[in-house]
């Protein structure tokens, strides 16, 4: 009986934690790297598109995938809280993510 109560409590706790998480410096560095990678990839994609080396359907689909990837980061950050001492870093990464997502919306519209 005791074990069942403990398991149920652990389950409720896990559910409660599932919606939000705390991001420390290391995790924020990882998110920043992902943002930089997406940013650089968008530049490469722009280059390929400018050279007319990709079909319209590829351009449309890839722009949408890039936007989706950026949006996932924004949503993850929106649900998360900064770890102790990582508040400023968190704000910076969140702002960068929002800016990148906005840029990718423009990219998406360009290829529609």
């Amino acid at each position: 009986m005791n074990r069942a109560v403990l398991l149920a409590a652990a389950f409720v706790f896990a559910l409660a934690c599932a919606g939000s998480s705390t991001l420390n410096h290391e995790q924020l560095t990882s998110e920043r790297k992902r943002l930089r990678s997406l940013d650089a990839e968008a530049l490469l994609f722009d280059q390929v598109a400018a050279m007319r080396h990709a079909s319209r359907s590829f351009e449309r689909a890839h722009a949408a995938y890039l936007h989706h990837a950026a949006r996932e980061i924004v949503e993850k950050l929106a649900k998360a809280r900064p770890g102790p001492g990582a508040e400023a870093d968190f704000q910076q990464v969140s702002a960068d993510a929002t800016r990148l997502e906005a840029r990718f919306v423009a990219l998406l519209l360009r290829f529609q």
């Binding site: 990882s30 790297k33 992902r34 930089r36 990678s37 650089a40 990839e41 530049l43 490469l44 994609f45 280059q47 390929v48 050279m51 007319r52 080396h53 990709a54 079909s55 319209r56 359907s57 590829f58 449309r60 689909a61 890839h62 995938y65 890039l66 990837a69």
Partner: protein
Amino acid sequence: MKKIVQLTLGVMTALGGFVDLGQIVFTMQAGALFGYALTWTILLGTIAIIIYIEMCGRVAAITKEAVFTVVRSKLGDRLGVVTLGGANLLNLLTCAAELGAIGIVLHVLTGWNERLLIVVGALVLGALVWLLKFQWIERTFGLWGLLMVVFAVAAWHMHPDWGAIAGALVPKAPVQGSHQGLLYGYFAVGIFSAMLMEYEVHFYSSGAIEEKWGENELSENTIVAVSGTALGSLVTCALLVLGALVFLPGGIFPDLLSTTGLPVALPLGRTALLFALLGMLASIGSAAVQTAMCVGYNTCQFYHIKWDKNLPPAEVPTFTISWVATLALATLFALTGIQPLQLVDYSIVLGMVMMPLTYYPILMAAGDQQRMGKHATKRWQHVLGWMFLVLIGIAALLAIPLMVLTHVGQP
């Protein structure tokens, strides 16, 4: 010409087997993070898979036993069932990941709805397997998969530093920083594992029996094992080189499937990009077909139930129901929206953990003097086989800790 067409079993096994979704993205990511530094893992994986593919083809040709018949006789019923369950679960996961990736590639090609394309892709693959004889399945995917050579052409076109690539054939001490070192280990194990995915040997040995290989086909077995694998390795090297040349300088970590087309489009243009996408479709489709069929092959071989792709489906009901059910379940799984790249990452690592249970029985069966007679493995091959089995064992032990510590390979 006939001989060339006969090579398609090797080409299909290699291109669908180790140049599948996981290898395409994994290898480009490795190139993007570490340049040419992990080339040695491709060399190591190539030698290992040639040795083991040749062994299981030889065992199938001489004893008429495919891998899972051997697994049961060498591991016993209990451990054998665990191996069968693990292999079939991995096949299901891999098949689902490949079908999800087919949806992405078809969406990029046509712009149509991705989920609809997953269903269409699965139906087309199912119809091909249902309608075609085994030989035509392997010829279709083997020849279609040759389009993947466009990645090698793109890599060649970008003038890589051949000296640096040759230098990277020798393993060097990992890069600085503990996280980078762990990532290096994760990608080394991952590339090695993706090249040795179990379903390759399951499919190859079943194919040898489907094609009724005997003693006369032993030289063909060696040629098919070496040439098919060499071609697969060439494409894998090209993926690494493209990752190093196109993504590394910009700090790009490619974790979208469509991104892997950019290094071909950049130097070679639109037609080459189309070839690359069609080649990926062939490799990924081939992997989906192989994994689905292997569930049928493995189950029937383990329980000594009649199986033969060349017989009408109704005459081999267990085999037919197994592969159809796998394809259907994998389609449903893919439709849940699960990320194919994440799924395949897990299947590669879990595949590594299961690997010793597949490769040990093959090594034992091929070296069995009583059953193989004069065709038993030569001493030097046996020693080499053991060396690689030890490496596989070490990689199997490291796979899960590395996956956890690197957050599934996140830089």
